[in-house]
Amino acid sequence: MTDRTMDGRVSAIAGLVASPVRSFFGYFGDHATMLGKAILWLFRPPFRLRLFLEQMEFIGVGSLPIIILVGFFSGAVSAQQTIRALSIFRQERLVGATVGLSLALELAPVFTALMITARAGSGIATELGSMRITEQIDALTSFAVNPIQYLVTPRIVAAVLVMPIMTMVFNLVGLLGAYLFSVKLMQVDVGAFFEYFRFWTDPSDYLQGAVKAAVFGISLSLAACFQGFNVRGGAKEVGLATTNAVVAGSVSVLVLDYFLSDMLATFFPYQS
């Protein structure tokens, strides 16, 4: 085998290895660049308060019915499964504490993020994708309006602000679902339900949930904006971008959840 043939094969193999690595870092690099620009444009005039409020209305208020519905049944089903497990030890009275804690730390922020990804994330990706293929984003640029500042910044900021609020709503409604199932259907003592809940949950648990929710807000809105903003082609590509936005948003929420739980456990150590 000649040296030239050998070199060719080595560079081909190196190319095969380098290509996915480059794509991987390129993908995250492009997201980071968009996020960086969105943050920079947040502090540069003009400040369009109307756009922020519109997005908060769309992402937050618009998602309220689905959050309430999912929250109620999530709380109820958590209580159902918890009571089944606790009944082995005859400790059904701990259901309020168990469901409250799991809602505050995991269920509320994660389920809220998944619901908002499905509803608002897909909406954002579709809207921006349609704007891209119908040249509305180019039109913004032609009027000297920065499209990142006009379209992306308000959506990310709105998601960061409303996600903790929606998570708290999920907590409240979830607890209501757990209460109704446990106390009204399974005859758990109402005093024990609330007393153990009060004893075992701290405000810091809700703070951890809120921090997670805010970070999820960044990741899901960034994924949606990125996919929508970078659509090239037509209706098929807009559909693809919407699917990608939901998949990327959901996966990012679940992956981030693990690392955030780990990190937050350092800042808020468990105290019995």
Partner: protein, 330 residues
């Protein structure tokens, strides 16, 4: 491949015939030493494009394009699909950056501008997009007023007065309840006119049209042509129109340039281009029904019918001067 163009004494595209048969405007001179162009605001050439290259991966779309855009005239750039017309438009708007070459707007090279400088320059421009690109979430008034709201702190009364004035001038005021309608509720022609109103509201010096008659029926096409003419005459703007609608082109153009193979193949008055003798031009106009098959000069009944106003007033209408062919030299 196009045939070799005849040698021209000037490597630059020829000047368009001024309306009314006045003296031909000057073109922007190039520095003989550096080859760079230094335009002045008083020049009849408002935009001078020199040696423009643009590639997308292995696809070399523009290959050293040279073009002059004349102040206050209707400059139409024709060419087949995929020849780079829309790319050229996006380069003019700064939505894309060229790989090489100069674009001088009133003598200022816009290629190297930063975002802040571009934001200032864009106030000179208005753009009418192919499908109007109206903002779906805004109604007609909000769409038209968008540039004013974004750029100035004007009172609502002043904004509404300017919007209504434009609606009147563009024959939109008679459409019932137009002000509160959303883009989805408008017809294709109405959308184009609202798009034009939005582009005109801040009184731009240069108006870019990206295939304005695409997808319109003949009546709507005629209306859009009239609209372009009126915008040019009433507002005195420099119009740059990207089109492959030959009938429209020869009806309203002051200057026609054909983009072919990444360069301007031929440029000049409509009649000059029509009789330039280039195979791609002939094919284009024959397929559009503007020339009888095989005709390369002399009478052009189709064109004459299509473009009576412009061809009759143009310098090349009766005794056409040879259009300059820049394809080989650029």
């Amino acid at each position: 491949m196009p045939p070799d163009p005849p040698k021209s004494s000037s490597p630059r595209p020829s000047d368009p015939p001024p309306r009314g048969g006045g003296p031909a405007p000057r073109t922007t001179p190039a520095d003989p030493k550096t080859g760079r162009v230094t335009g002045r605001v008083t020049d009849p050439v408002q935009i001078a494009i020199r040696g423009l290259h643009k590639s997308f991966g292995v696809q070399h779309v523009l290959r050293g394009l040279d073009l002059d855009i004349y102040r206050g005239k209707i400059n139409i750039i024709i060419g087949g699909s995929g020849q780079g017309k829309s790319v050229l438009m996006k380069l003019l708007m700064g939505l894309l950056k060229p790989d090489e070459g100069q674009i001088l707007v009133d003598g200022q090279d816009i290629v190297a501008l930063n975002d802040v400088e571009w934001a200032k320059l864009r106030r000179k421009y208005g753009m009418v997009f192919q499908y109007a690109a109206l903002f779906d979430s805004l109604n007609v008034v909000e769409n038209i007023a968008f540039p004013l709201i974004e750029r100035y702190h004007l009172s609502n009364d002043e904004i509404m007065s300017r919007v209504r004035d434009l609606l009147q001038k563009l024959d939109l005021a008679s459409v019932g309840g137009i002000e509160q309608k959303f883009p989805a509720e408008l017809s294709g022609g109405q959308r184009k006119r609202v798009g034009l109103a939005r582009a005109l509201i801040d009184r731009p010096e240069i108006l870019l049209y990206d295939e304005p008659t695409t997808g319109l029926d003949p009546v709507a096409t005629k209306n859009v042509d009239d609209m372009i003419l009126r915008a040019s005459q009433d507002f005195g703007v420099t119009s740059v129109v990207i089109s492959h609608d030959m009938a429209s082109t020869f009806r309203i153009a002051d200057s026609v340039s054909m983009l072919y193979d990444g360069k301007i193949l031929v440029s000049g008055a409509a009649d000059e281009v029509l009789h330039s003798g280039f195979a791609p031009v002939q094919e284009f106009v024959q397929l559009a029904g503007l020339l009888p098959g095989g005709a390369t000069g002399g009478g052009a009944p189709g064109a004459a019918a299509a473009a009576p106003a412009k061809a009759a007033g143009g310098a090349g209408a009766k005794a056409p001067a040879p259009a300059s062919k820049s394809g080989a030299s650029s």
